[in-house]
Amino acid sequence: MIDNTTMDSAEIKGGQAVQSGFSGAAIAKWAGIWLGFILISLALPKIFDSRFAMSMFNQMGIAIVFALSFNMLLGQGGLLSFGHAVFYGMGGFGAIHVLCMVNDGELRIYTELLPLAGGIFAAILGFILGFISTRRAAIPFALITMGIGELLLASSLLLPSFFGGEEGIAGDRWTEITLLPFKYGKSIEVYYLILIWMFLSVAAMYLLTKTPLGQMANAVRDNHQRAQFIGYDPHKVRTFQFTLAAFFAGIAGGLFAINYEMVTAENLGMLPSTDILMMTVIGGITYFFGPILGAIFITFLQLVVSNVTHAWMLYFGIMFIIMIMWAPDGLAGLIMRHQPIWRAKRMTKILPSYLAALVPGLVMFAGVIVLVEIMFHISLSIDPESPLSIMGVSFRAQAFMPWAVGILLLGVGGYLFKLAARRVNQAWKTVLAEIKQEGV
């Protein structure tokens, strides 16, 4: 689509800050972003206070921590894990078992600290499994993490005293043993707890990228051989990075345990592992904030779209493939590409071409939806002969017309979109050439 964009990421800004000795403007900018983030989070439940919204916000908070921890591996360490949910699930189990002990009066631990218990439990496991799996990166690593996930899932049924069989383990978060003046009976109280842990975790993971270990994780990702010749053992760097990622996944799992008061073996299986992978990649792995975007965006779609259609997973998969093929840097990458144009105040030059592409894009998308929904209706609904309704229009799925309409929308929309995409490309080239000429 659009190439030759330089990746001036947050890291490079860090570098600039060094040169200019932490300029006041840079600090103000970062403080502004963080403050805005906090204020919005605090205000959200005041604006949207339905049960649905609260449950969604809680899930988003958990997903943000989980996705960022996943990106500590993929984006920062170059390690593609197909089993990261192992640490999410085990963190959840760690926390819920501690909660059960608190419920039984065997332990006195503040409810607020349960996620930490989950994190520590996951980190211990992460260190052991990380040591085994990170000797080699890339493909062997991907397969081993997947194998470990499958192994734990398979063993969960055999070890009911830990995993609780099919029902899982349940606890009661209303323990009266709390640090804050909350009882965690209401979901808004849980929201604030998740919020605190989320901000602590996000800040910690951000700062970790700036530490020697964080920097060396990037170095090993880029070139593990070179890293050896500057004194580092790539296996150790990966193991430590893996342990830290497991720790934060465990915290996310602990938050899950508090939020749902229940953890099952499904939480550590392939499904949540692939979910978080796709979320993170769609958000973008080359920028620190990418996974945050992905977590918010996908959690939102997941809840809203799966309410109206059974085909959510299919749309999710299509979206993922599209991102991989045409926008490998994810949503964050798409946004950051516009930075030079934004700085040069040239956004108006490309927006018209976007609008021109939007219309056929929507037509094409409508075509896909019509076809998918018809097929799903035929293959999956209890009575395929019953009328299907899309956006208020009701019809028989077996009739000829809906198929024709769907194919027509898809074909015409697709063709026009292709033309429009060329225009977008052209607009980009012109603008970039202009900027270059002016030497901005």
């Binding site: 993929l74 170059g78 593609l80 197909f82 085994i132 799996s133 000797r135 080699r136 990166a137 890339a138 493909i139 062997p140 991907a142 397969l143 081993i144 997947m146 194998g147 470990i148 499958e150 192994l151 398979a154 063993s155 055999l158 070890l159 009911p160 005293s161 830990f162 392939m270 692939t274 992978l277 796709m278 990649v281 085909a311 997973m313 299919l314 999710f316 998969g317 299509i318 993922f320 493939i321 991989i324 093929m325 490998p328 998918v372 097929m375 799903f376 293959s379 999956l380």
Partner: protein
């Protein structure tokens, strides 16, 4: 006892050759292109579904040829219009792409054929006992599966050892840098090998789908085990894939028949294991119940003690 051993051996052979049909294609693609095709088991699944669809209309024998062909063509399309494009974004992107395909194929199969298993049956003309041993039947279809697997195995052996393209593939397995000197037609070779690997997986689906069950979960059920096979065998080694296919099949098949547990073992020494809590769970586990775990356990041990696999030639 000898009945158990003989039938287990036969089942091992059938299951092992089925695994090899999948893992050989995966190994070839990996060896040649350095791409782990995550969607490989999806081609197996598609093979079964295609065969089901074809056999409804024109019968099993045409399906035996048409379904792998269809899957092979699909594989070539995937390579030509997908993988090749993603290749520029690097290794992780390729892996993510094939993973995305795995995900998408699963959803597409559900979209077209539904969530429930489809009625893909063993053809009538093969549905009789071939011979009876110790009072147990050995079905003709199992014999047929063996025959197809062995034919495939011989065919592949000949292609790899007796043809020019086979020699090129062999060379590139042990010396990946050789791929650069293949000449100007590298992309075409990649496309055909990818297609051939997919077709092999499709064939496995055709003969395995009706023997086992044809449902949307079948790729997920077999995929991880095939990955274990190539890790244990050594990434990029065909011989290794063959040995570990049979070996893992044997482990799993024989495990099914064993109801021995740690508690029984301790019992021999007069030790009464506690039956409470976590340790109670552990000592009560019977070997048969660990069938699903065995491949992964084995893989982890392998990685600790011999990280490059049984026949591994590559370090990293």
């Amino acid at each position: 006892m000898s009945e158990f051993i003989i039938f287990s051996l036969l089942n091992t052979l059938i299951y092992g050759l089925l695994l090899f049909m999948l893992s050989s294609g995966l190994t070839l693609i990996f060896g040649l292109m350095n791409v782990l095709n995550f969607a490989h088991a999806s081609f197996y699944m598609l093979g079964a579904y295609f065969a089901y669809q074809v056999s409804i209309h024109v019968g099993f024998i045409p399906a035996l040829f048409l379904a792998p062909l269809g899957v092979g063509i699909l594989g070539m399309i995937v390579e030509r219009y997908g993988l090749r494009k993603v290749h520029a974004h690097g290794h992780v992107a390729e892996l993510l792409f094939t993973f995305g395909l795995f995900f998408l194929f699963n959803e597409l199969v559900i979209l077209i054929w539904g969530r429930n298993p489809v009625d893909y049956q063993i053809p009538d003309f093969l549905d009789f006992p071939l011979f009876t041993l110790f009072g147990a039947d050995f079905s003709a279809y199992k014999g047929f599966m063996l025959l197809i697997s062995i034919a495939m195995f011989i065919g592949m052996y000949l292609v790899i050892n007796r043809t020019r393209i086979g020699l090129v593939i062999q060379a590139s397995l042990t010396h990946p840098e050789m791929v650069n000197v293949l000449g100007h037609n590298v992309p075409a070779v990649f496309m055909y090998v990818f297609g051939a690997g997919a077709a092999l997986a499709g064939l496995a689906g055709v003969i395995g789908g009706n023997f086992l069950v044809t449902e949307p979960g079948m790729a997920m059920a077999l995929g991880p085990i095939v990955f274990v096979v190539i890790v244990v065998g050594g990434m990029g080694s065909l011989t290794g894939a063959f040995i570990s296919s049979l070996f893992l099949a044997g482990l799993q098949t024989f495990a099914v028949g064993m109801d021995y547990s740690l508690a029984d073992f301790l019992g021999h020494f007069g030790i009464q294991a506690s039956s409470e809590g976590f340790w109670g769970d552990i000592v009560r586990i019977e070997i048969a119940n660990t069938r699903a775990m065995i491949p992964f356990l084995f893989m982890i041990f392998m990685l600790i003690f011999r990280p490059k696999g049984l026949m591994g030639v590559r370090e990293e």
